[in-house]
Subunit: 77 residues, 2 copies
């Protein structure tokens, strides 16, 4: 699994855990809903800045989010 | 301190700890030396992909690198 896809899986998992729609998360983050969808499908490369903004609005630390991405990559490789 | 600057400080610290020049790190990562310099000065936004590639070549996990960036941000704010 590529990094972008692993990030998408983790992002979607956290969003769903908070029962947020893509639109609600986008509003919280001041990002475009389309961008959230592209990230979740692994079709965009997030910047570190996006990772920090998303993590903050998902009530998780950026490093914990990245650790989950590492695990997701190992799990599916 | 902005995120990009915090990342630059952490990146430079790890590179120096391994006694690598910017050029040597760039070669290891298959990135441009100029890009490493821009990142270290906080003049470029790294993608999550760049963070993973750099971390791998600095013998640190991406999540640990990101945790150091979080600390750097707290320390200097």
């Amino acid at each position: 699994m590529e990094l972008e896809h692993a990030f998408g899986v983790v992002l979607k998992r956290h969003r769903k855990a908070l029962s947020l729609s893509q639109e609600e998360l986008a509003l919280r983050c001041n990002l475009d809903r389309t961008f959230i969808g592209l990230l979740e499908r692994g079709e965009r490369r997030p910047t570190l800045k996006s990772v920090f903004v998303l993590a903050q609005n998902l009530n998780v630390s950026p490093s914990d989010l990245v650790r989950e991405v590492e695990k997701q990559l190992t799990q599916d490789s």
